[in-house]
Point group: C2
Chain length 438, copies 2
């Protein structure tokens, strides 16, 4: 093999993931060279905080607080952006691209919102944008979708892509705790941030889903149009009823393609307890990809954390290095489809979605109630799969829980609006969508 010149990497953002990247490039340098046939060298690290001890040994001379100077260095081949958020991360990436540097990023929020602009700039400049680390941490879902499953029209891609929410729902399920108590525990353990809104509100999952559905279906995805519902309203009572029906409640991100339309949505979802997704506990992530040829496939692993996410960043750097050495930048289109091959699909509105539904009604304990509810459902083309009606409360309200067969969400909303106006109904009905049912 001819000698391959070292590929020199500039890292911007020396936080949790940055530390993982530095550790891997340092501690597994020999292994990487044995695999790649060349070296990936850390040429510089930019961060505002030059003094904090990250628990990793770094040559002090590599560090700078001037990110733009690092981007401008002619000896740097690739820039890793791990600053997060929109600005200045976006400016850093666009500047690096403009200077002909390959880039890698874990920044899902930025890519979900400004991906097209960044990818177009990279395409024009002939540089790579690696974003394996932006979705599902260490799980190599981006390469799987863009390359490994290239033979497949992808019908669906869905799964658990927010570890914080999965941890909270797992605690609630195993210990019967409330959302608030489980969130507090997650914060105590460092699994949830002080402001958990992006995680438990579903926004983080929506960012990742927008990226996944764009590369799976070859369509632009308008992040603001992705219906997104978090887990704060999931109650121990619903988890308990779900279990009685044989289901677990997970925060799923779901995208499906059908003809010239697709859907993308994030919401708490009941999945059969016998499925692999239901078994995914703790902070782990798991993503199903269903191809028209391969059928269902699943990818499972740590969706966050310093070294798991660092593993994905370094995989991107390795691909960039291989492309530099073989002169093959642009070998795989950044979005998994060529620019000409991408094709806008219409995103379905939530009212068009077909799903099974879990409906928990809160009603006065009167004999005619079930008939009244069933009647309204039937009039709206919703058929009932099973019902749980529990023993009498002394004069108060009782829950009636119904699992429906497949129904259109618009019809369900119409029926619920009618039902919630009935005098026997004493609280708004709870709706949770169901996937993978019969």
């Amino acid at each position: 093999m001819t000698a391959r010149r070292p590929v020199r990497v500039g890292l911007i953002g020396f936080g949790t993931v940055g530390t993982g990247v530095v550790k891997i490039l340092t501690e597994n340098a020999d292994l990487l060279e044995r695999r790649l046939g060349g070296k990936i060298v850390l040429a510089g690290i930019a961060d505002k905080d030059l003094s904090r001890d990250r628990g990793v040994k770094v040559d002090r001379s590599l560090m700078t607080d001037d990110a733009r100077a690092l981007i401008g260095r002619p000896d740097v081949d690739a820039i890793v952006e791990l600053v997060g958020g929109h600005e200045p991360a976006k400016t850093f990436l666009l500047e690096a691209i403009a200077k002909g540097k390959h880039v890698a990023t874990a920044n899902k929020a930025l890519l979900a919102a400004s991906g097209p602009e960044i990818f177009a700039a990279a395409s024009k400049a002939g540089v790579e944008v690696g974003f394996e680390a932006s979705v599902a941490g260490g799980i190599p879902i981006i390469q799987v979708v863009k390359e490994s499953l290239v033979a497949n029209r992808i019908g669906a891609i869905y799964g658990i892509i927010n570890g914080t929410s999965n941890y909270i729902l797992s605690r609630m399920s195993h210990e019967g705790s409330t959302f608030e108590a489980a969130l507090a525990e997650a914060q105590r353990l460092g699994y949830a941030e002080a402001d958990p809104a992006l995680d438990v509100g579903g926004g983080d999952s929506a960012h990742k889903l927008a990226i996944l559905s764009a590369i799976a279906f070859g369509t632009p995805v308008d992040l603001s149009a992705v219906p997104t519902e978090g887990i704060a309203h999931v109650t121990p009572l619903d988890i308990e009823f779900a279990r009685e029906f044989g289901y677990a409640i997970k925060l799923l991100a779901i995208a499906k393609q059908e003809g010239e339309t697709f859907e993308a949505r994030v919401h708490p979802t009941m999945v059969p307890e016998t499925t692999l997704l239901a078994q995914v506990g703790d902070v782990f992530n798991a993503v199903y990809v269903v191809g028209d040829r391969v059928g269902p496939t699943l990818y499972y692993g740590r969706g966050a954390g310093s070294e798991p996410t660092g593993s994905a960043v370094v995989a991107d750097l390795a691909a960039i290095a291989r492309n530099i050495w073989t002169g093959s930048a642009g070998r795989v289109p950044v979005m998994g489809f060529t620019d000409e091959g991408r094709r806008p699909l219409r995103m379905k509105g939530m009212d068009e979605i077909v799903s099974h539904f879990y409906l928990r009604f809160t009603v006065r304990d009167e004999p005619s109630v079930l008939a009244a509810i069933a009647g309204r459902l039937g009039e709206n083309r919703i058929s009932i799969e099973s019902v749980i009606q529990k023993g009498r409360a002394a004069g108060g309200s009782v829950p009636v829980v119904i699992m429906t067969h497949a129904a259109v969400e618009r019809d369900v909303r119409t029926a619920l609006a009618e039902i919630d106006r009935l005098s026997v109904v004493s609280a708004p009905t709870v709706l949770i969508r169901v996937e993978g049912g019969s």
Copy 2:
């Protein structure tokens, strides 16, 4: 994008997987071009049987019964070998490589035995060898190990990589049927061949494990040294006891690396019922890859079948096409490590393996029996985790079942030899290894 000339593929072996490849290249041609920016064209199909209807439309002029003529055609860029077995498959591959054709194959038996020879020839000729389809069918485990997890020293790779055996064990577990009955059902459904020895005897899993451990650890692997035990001796009784301890029995292929040694072995294995592997049913495959950075990751999907395996073949062809278009053949070393980067590790013998063990003793129902067994185990440094001793049989033999803590297999074998000589022991002790226990 500059126009990319079509990449022309010659297919040898128009059987189950060949049909899948033809279907995908034909039916998803537009999708592939949108993803790749160029066409993959079927240039010819060689098979001994030119008349059988495969349920796929093929231009009759593409077909030939002369594989060597197809290999020799100057307009063919890549050869797909789906003949299976050793010869003439090996000759076809080596001839194609000698003529400068890239090749792709699903032939695990050939690669496990003659991989080094084929890979060396390809390396010398500067052509690619795609073998994604050789392990775990549609699951992209080869690309994951060679590329996506490149940042990781892989400590372990293990899982269910034979669908036939998994189907049989799943039936036995769910229906309490015997091995023979479940095998007969698998044969009736087309999940097992008339001669099932390679599947149920573990040989097929050993082939795949030899390939996986070679690319995961960067070491040569001597297939003949891989300890291989099939599932024919698994009984409903052991499945039932496993369940009482909270385990399922699966045929696992297991490879682990530690320092300068590695182990690779195939045998029925108890895995905790709460783990994902235990939930993998039917003919599905699932492979865990544990990296030092990413932690545990799992890959699940169809491990066999026409289109799932075809999906993997076409992924290889797509990678070959991308390399042709960008002039980057050899971009990723065929075995995941450069030739210089590979390093022989010592393969541990089975007697060195450390595992937990399930031991089912068949003993006369006498008070001193458990003490005698426990004594021999203790003398051999084996400590007991739990015991099931069932009610008395009228004068006959009863089972005593012991789960051990981690122990060295050599010690267990020594202890069992002593125990099986005791007069109170009336049948050879059954041993099943346990993974993932406490």
